[in-house]
């Protein structure tokens, strides 16, 4: 007889949602979270697309600690001395079904955990699970400190930096080419100042802004800005394998990014109130570990459920959906009396028919495209700048026809190379 029907390791996005589903079905569930409070060890960029949260908690918007609803999207190609920006505003972004919000995890995660607790989940905070208990190939519980606690099923949702995935399903630590390191600062500014600087209508609305090129000194990755209610989340995400070859350390990249002429006015007068670091799983579908073993399933970042395609970056909505499906599949397996890997196979089937594995599969070529299309980071931002100079800079010298001013720029990179990159990019999406 196990101590609990289910133990959930980690209270981020996937864990509490899984625990909620299990508790709601009348099963006993314990969540073990190493943060003294939920969210204390968690970091996001971060923007949450809320469609999957809505599927679990249709009333979430009434009391969830959300920062601002994102109603403006910007992408900038940054050269060291210039930026070319695409700015997208659309009333459609206000629709309930596709709403996204900036979030701060130390505020959001306790709310999500409280939803699980209210449904009957028990919580232990402030201690890390050091090892999984096993009986042969079967996971039978967890060891945390001096305690050994058993369960019929362990739901592993301990994040990208999991030390347990190896014990659970034999997934050794991710390769440096399949994970990126995120570095982020939270910069405090008065709410109306933020509202004015990103051109939104009120202090409840905000912008998401991604940057490519100079922020990472041409390395694979990019910069980001998300507006919170009275702070700005600003940072970089750089693939570990490529960053390890960079002349500039990531923290210096961040400092230079903050001083870039396109970025500096946005944060002028602001005060850094937190400096954070976190890994981001970017290997996509082909870097995913097995999602279930005997007595164990994996959900969220630990299973590399994340996509970064340059203009949208998603992980939290995948984790919430995975947590929901994991919780439901575990409940079904418990009811059927078979919690072996075969008995838990319903989890993967549910993900296969949901957006989670469909999207990861659709975008499976993209990580490889990003890694090998270095011109995207090294050359194209400067090309965009030079093209804009031909169009916008007026200094009295006689103008050249566009075919004579722009075509030579394209030829610098090579028409064929540009066409090839474009074609490969379209095929990868």
């Amino acid at each position: 007889m196990s101590d609990f029907d289910v133990i959930v390791v980690g209270s981020g996005m996937a864990g509490p949602v899984a625990a909620y589903e299990v508790a709601k079905a009348g099963r006993s569930v314990l969540v073990v979270e190493r943060g003294e409070s939920c969210g204390a060890k968690n970091v996001s960029g971060g923007r949450l697309y809320t469609h999957s949260l809505r599927a679990v908690f249709p009333d979430f918007a009434t009391d969830a600690p959300l920062e601002r609803r994102i109603v403006r999207e910007r992408i900038s190609l940054l050269a060291p001395d210039a930026g070319v920006t695409l700015d997208y505003a659309d009333e459609r972004l206000r629709d309930v079904g596709c709403a996204s919000y900036s979030v701060l995890r130390a505020r959001f995660d306790p709310w999500l955990a409280a939803r699980a607790e209210a449904a009957g989940a028990e919580y232990i905070n402030g201690i890390a699970v050091e090892a999984l208990l096993r009986d042969g190939p079967r996971v039978t519980g967890v060891r945390a400190g001096d305690d050994e606690i058993t369960a019929d099923v362990v739901i592993l949702s301990d994040g990208v930096n999991s030390l347990l995935a190896d014990q659970a399903v034999g997934a050794i630590r991710p390769k440096p080419a399949t994970v990126a390191v995120g570095i982020k600062q939270v910069i405090e500014l008065p709410a109306p100042v933020i509202t004015d600087r990103v051109l939104v209508a009120s202090d409840t609305e905000g912008a998401a802004w991604l940057f490519v090129g100079d922020p990472t000194k041409g390395h694979v990755g990019g910069g980001f800005v998300y507006t919170n209610r009275d702070s700005i989340s600003l940072g970089l995400v750089v693939t570990v394998a490529d960053l390890a070859r960079s002349e500039t350390p990531i923290y210096q990249m961040l400092e230079d990014f903050k001083r870039h002429p396109v970025v500096a006015p946005l944060i002028a007068g602001g005060k850094v109130v937190e400096h954070a670091g976190h890994l981001v799983p970017e290997g996509g579908f082909d870097a995913m570990p097995p999602l279930a073993g005997d007595g164990v399933v994996l959900a969220g970042d630990v299973a590399m459920m994340c996509v970064n395609i340059g203009y949208t970056v998603r992980g939290m909505d995948f984790a919430i959906a995975a947590g929901m499906h994991a919780g439901r599949a575990v409940v079904a397996a418990l009811a059927a009396g078979d919690t072996s890997a075969a008995g838990l196979a319903g989890y993967r089937q549910a993900l296969e028919s949901s957006f989670v594995l469909r999207d990861l599969r659709t975008l499976r070529r993209f990580p490889d495209f990003m890694e090998h299309t270095t011109r995207l980071f090294e050359k194209y931002p400067a090309l965009a700048r030079d093209a804009m100079r031909e169009l916008f800079v007026v200094d009295g010298t006689p103008i050249k026809p566009v075919r004579k001013s722009l075509l030579p720029l394209v030829k610098q990179v090579g028409v064929l190379k540009l066409g090839k990159d474009l074609w490969r990019g379209v095929r990868a999406l």
């Binding site: 130390a106 201690i127 630590r173 390890a244 960079s246 990531i250 109130v273 937190e274 400096h275 976190h278």
Partner: protein, 99 residues
């Protein structure tokens, strides 16, 4: 690439705003006794807290106290420079107030 470009930022200013409970005397990351220069340089570049440094005299230094617990060093140099990486003890380490 065997060098690191100029650094103008003083990371102590930034880590100083974070909330930590440092487990003095109990490092949760252990390094190889004599890690090679090239492997160590990788960590200088990837650690978002700048805990891996090469000082003016050329010595390789590491301080776990400002660790953000991201695990990047474990990915970049696990088994070479980083020979042990576990989470800090109960209630210890960084405590994000924003995240």
């Amino acid at each position: 690439m065997s060098k690191v470009g100029p650094v103008t930022v003083d990371m102590a200013d930034y880590l100083g705003v974070n909330k930590y409970a440092v487990d003095e005397g109990n490092p949760h990351i252990e390094l190889a006794v004599d890690p090679g220069r090239e492997e160590f340089l990788k960590l200088v570049r990837v650690c978002p807290a700048a805990l891996y440094k090469i000082d003016a005299a050329g010595n390789q230094t590491f301080d776990f106290a400002g660790c953000l617990e991201c695990g990047t060093c474990r990915i970049a140099a696990g088994g070479t420079v980083v020979i042990e990486w576990h989470f800090p003890g109960p209630t210890m380490g960084v405590q994000y107030r924003y995240g």
